[in-house]
């Protein structure tokens, strides 16, 4: 059976007060007795602590001041003078009153005692504060992704901390990806089983505030390496990515990004200092160039080795090939930046726009950790700014309108980034009014961009939005609707070898999806031959290769359609396109390429094989040739042009329409 703790406290306090009284009286006789002082302090301390715990708040608040005074005595800063003992005895009586007959206790009397006490201690009036102010709580703000690196003190397990429980707690906060960093584990002879050698890297997506994450580590945070970063929180003015001069490797960016957040003290260990270095961006570009040259040289070596009968040459060539590929991947990895550094900048943009337009907008970012080549990240800024502006300016309605339509007053713009094979998909989704098909159509017909009466799918119709000079916004606002922009967006994305698609539901919002290659410098390509020339098709665009049998060829003559598993795919004869004059290969191949949702077959003479393609841009003179996006140097030193798949697919589709219209 249990006793009511409050009763227990009353009884205990009574005993403690008696001890206190005895101590105080004895102190009057032997003011230097440290044991007496310690005992008196302990009594006050316990009364305060337990009092607060059992609901005796007035007792606790009052005793707090007396205890503070006695703490000074204990530390030898204040002498236990007769005056002090006098006040302390009065205080003790007041405490007893507060505990036993709280309704009769007079707060004014208590304040007077405290005032006297304070005067005795230092002659200054007692401050009015009682309890310590609660620490400020950071307000949660939707889902936020954090990157947390922590390394517990080596002795933390011996001190009773269980790292697994800490990780479990983190997982309870939200979606966590935990990676253990094992770099500091010594060899097995040196391992002390009581020591914690692991560090952890945690990506945590949670709606809980920063303080909740820190709270997990409340007991160990002072003795550990602890680095908590908001991945998506880059201050607007940050130029870490945009500055042409320097690029910071991923780690550094993560460190530099959340200037607005207070950082845990950085352990100044040599190890963390060596963890990342800053490198000027040009050096990375140079490195990439060199690797590119190396890849070309290696292609030559491979060719030489292939025609050699020397086994040693062959094996060295294979070894070099392997190393070059690894070097290429490592180098490209260095250039990768998380897109979160870019997303972070848009918070400010959204904030400014929402206040300017009187719309309440919430920006949600997902997948900030998705990595992209730094050049791509840099060049994505403007298109994304434009698309977000469009979403907020044209897409989202005013709060009143939204409420009438049964939506939340606050609009929502979601930025998502994720990997899809060798591509990254970035989408900008809003929950606004959606695109007005009829208005777009009317405007497009008015501008002569589409022939009136043409049947168009939504995606086809929305593509006119990317035509130069197209704008449905009747009034040009200061933010968007000047009719420049979407075509520039499209051009930028295409110059990054990406594509752009739009879907929309009336009243439900619009989604713009960008597909971008992971990197710009070196790609995996498919080497093909058309006539006497060789060309490269980016492998990421290739779906499959099929043979064009003579019968099928004959059948399709003039129609240029191929039946690929019951689906009609238009095809282009590259021989005709490139005016090849050599003899026709009796078994032409069709390479099926895709761009967005569209597919086109390219008829080629020969599929040679895969090829590490170092992209060289075309000269200014040839830059506008639509069919090619660049060039590369082959192992034998000849140049192969890289086909611009998006362009060819469009070309093929347009031709298909024409043929359809003609028939």
């Amino acid at each position: 059976m249990s006793v009511d703790p409050a009763d227990m406290f009353r009884q205990e306090a009574q005993e403690l007060l008696e001890v206190l009284e005895q101590n105080l009286l004895d102190l009057g006789l032997t003011p230097d007795d440290q044991d007496l002082i310690g005992s008196a302090f302990r009594a006050l301390h316990t009364i305060k602590g337990s009092g607060a715990m059992f609901g005796f708040d007035r007792v606790a608040a009052f005793t707090h001041h007396v205890e503070t005074a006695f703490d000074q005595v204990r530390k030898g800063k204040v002498a236990p003078s007769p005056a002090l003992i006098q006040v302390a005895l009065a205080a003790k009586d007041h405490m007893r009153m507060l505990i036993e007959q709280p309704e009769q206790a007079n707060d004014a009397a208590g304040d007077a005692i405290l005032k006297d006490l304070q005067q005795v201690v230092d002659g200054v009036e007692a401050p009015a504060e009682t309890a310590p102010a609660p620490s400020a709580e950071i307000k949660p703000e939707g889902l936020v992704t954090w990157r947390l690196r922590f390394r517990l003190a080596k002795d933390s397990m011996a001190m009773g901390t269980n790292p697994l429980l800490l990780l479990d707690e983190l997982r309870e906060l939200g979606q966590a990806t935990v990676t253990a960093l094992t770099d500091e584990i010594p060899s097995i002879e040196e391992i002390d089983p009581n020591c914690c050698y692991l560090a952890w890297d945690v990506k945590l997506t949670t709606d809980r505030p920063q303080s909740a994450i820190e709270e997990v580590f409340m007991f160990v945070i002072d003795d550990m390496e602890f680095d908590l970063q908001r991945i998506d929180a880059t201050p607007v003015e940050t130029t870490a990515i945009a500055a042409p001069g320097t690029v910071q490797p991923v780690e550094e960016v993560a460190h530099a990004a959340p200037a607005g957040l207070q950082k845990r003290r950085e352990p100044p260990s040599a190890k963390t200092a060596a963890g990342s270095i800053r490198v000027p961006a040009e050096r990375l570009d140079e490195l990439m160039d060199r690797v590119g040259e190396l890849v070309i040289a290696q292609a030559r070596l491979r060719q030489v080795a292939a025609s050699s009968h020397d086994g040693q040459v062959k094996s060295v060539a294979e070894e070099v090939e392997r190393l070059v590929l690894e070097l290429r991947d490592t180098t490209m990895g260095i250039r990768m930046l998380p897109i979160g550094s870019l997303f972070g900048r848009f918070r400010r943009l959204v904030h400014d726009l929402s206040s300017e337009l009187g719309k309440s907008v919430e920006l949600v970012t997902i997948g900030e950790e998705t990595e992209l080549d730094k050049t791509v990240v840099e060049r994505l800024n403007d298109p994304l700014v434009h698309l977000i502006r469009n979403s907020i300016d044209h897409g989202l309605e005013l709060p009143e309108v939204r409420l009438q339509a049964g939506k939340a007053a606050q609009g929502r713009v979601v930025l998502t980034a994720r990997h899809a094979g060798a591509q990254v998909l970035i989408s900008i989704t809003d929950d606004g009014r959606g695109l007005d098909r009829d208005r777009i159509r009317a405007r497009a017909e008015e501008n002569g961009l589409i022939v009136p009466g043409t049947k168009l799918t939504d995606n086809e119709l929305f593509q006119v939005l990317f035509q130069p000079g197209f704008s449905t916004a009747r009034e040009v606002t200061s933010i968007s609707g000047r009719g420049v922009g979407m075509d520039v967006v499209k051009r930028t994305i295409e110059s990054l070898r990406g594509t752009i698609d739009m879907t929309s539901r009336p009243g439900g919002g619009t989604e713009v999806t960008l597909r971008l290659p992971l990197t710009l410098a070196i790609i995996d390509g498919l080497l093909i031959r058309v006539g006497s020339g060789r060309y490269v098709i980016p492998l990421s665009a290739v779906e499959e290769c099929v043979e064009l049998s003579p019968e099928e060829d004959a059948r399709s003559r003039g129609r240029s359609f191929l039946n690929i598993r019951d689906e009609l795919v238009p095809f282009l004869r590259l021989r005709e396109l490139f005016n090849a004059t050599t003899a026709v290969d009796p078994y032409p191949k069709v390479v099926i390429v895709s761009s967005g949702d569209l597919r086109v077959g390219l008829v080629v003479d020969q599929v040679i094989g895969d090829h590490q393609t170092v992209i060289k841009s075309l000269s200014r003179l040839h830059a506008d040739v639509g069919t090619f996006s660049g060039a590369t140097i082959l192992g034998d030193g000849t140049v192969a042009l890289i086909l611009d798949v998006a362009n060819l697919v469009e070309f093929g589709q347009v031709r298909e329409e024409k043929l359809k219209a003609a028939s």
Partner: protein
């Protein structure tokens, strides 16, 4: 398996509260009235965790922690301090002695339970 928590405090009411809170959640609670008693209990009993006050007669909390950490059966046993704001600077000292964490007095029962669960699990 029932986990045993050693509660060391010179205040019987605090011990009572600790006991009520933890035994209600399925823990077994062993009590000690000061650091010396606590040390003796830690030696003789297999405890999973220690919750201790700092300011105690006979032997204070920090001395006790230091001694407990020397016991072969108490390596890695979590030790949680019950501290008040006024002895917060003692936290560092206690950590040096081997304390795992702390709870600031006054605390609610739920807080105590949360910390115990955090440190030794449900």
């Amino acid at each position: 398996m029932t986990k045993t928590v050693l509660s060391v405090d010179d205040s019987a009411s605090v011990r009572q509260m600790v006991k009520l809170t933890l035994s209600g959640a399925g823990y077994q609670v062993v009590e000690a009235g000061n650091g010396a008693e606590g040390l003796a209990k830690a030696k003789s009993t297999a405890v999973d965790m220690i919750v201790t006050d700092l300011n105690m007669p006979v032997m204070d909390g920090i001395s006790m922690i230091r001694e407990v950490r020397k016991l072969p059966n108490c390596k890695g046993v979590p030790i949680i301090l019950l501290t008040t704001e006024s002895d917060s600077e003692k936290k560092a000292e206690a950590r040096g002695a081997g304390a795992t964490g702390w709870i600031t007095k006054p605390f609610q029962q739920e807080q105590l339970l949360a910390v115990v669960k955090k440190v030794i699990g449900g």
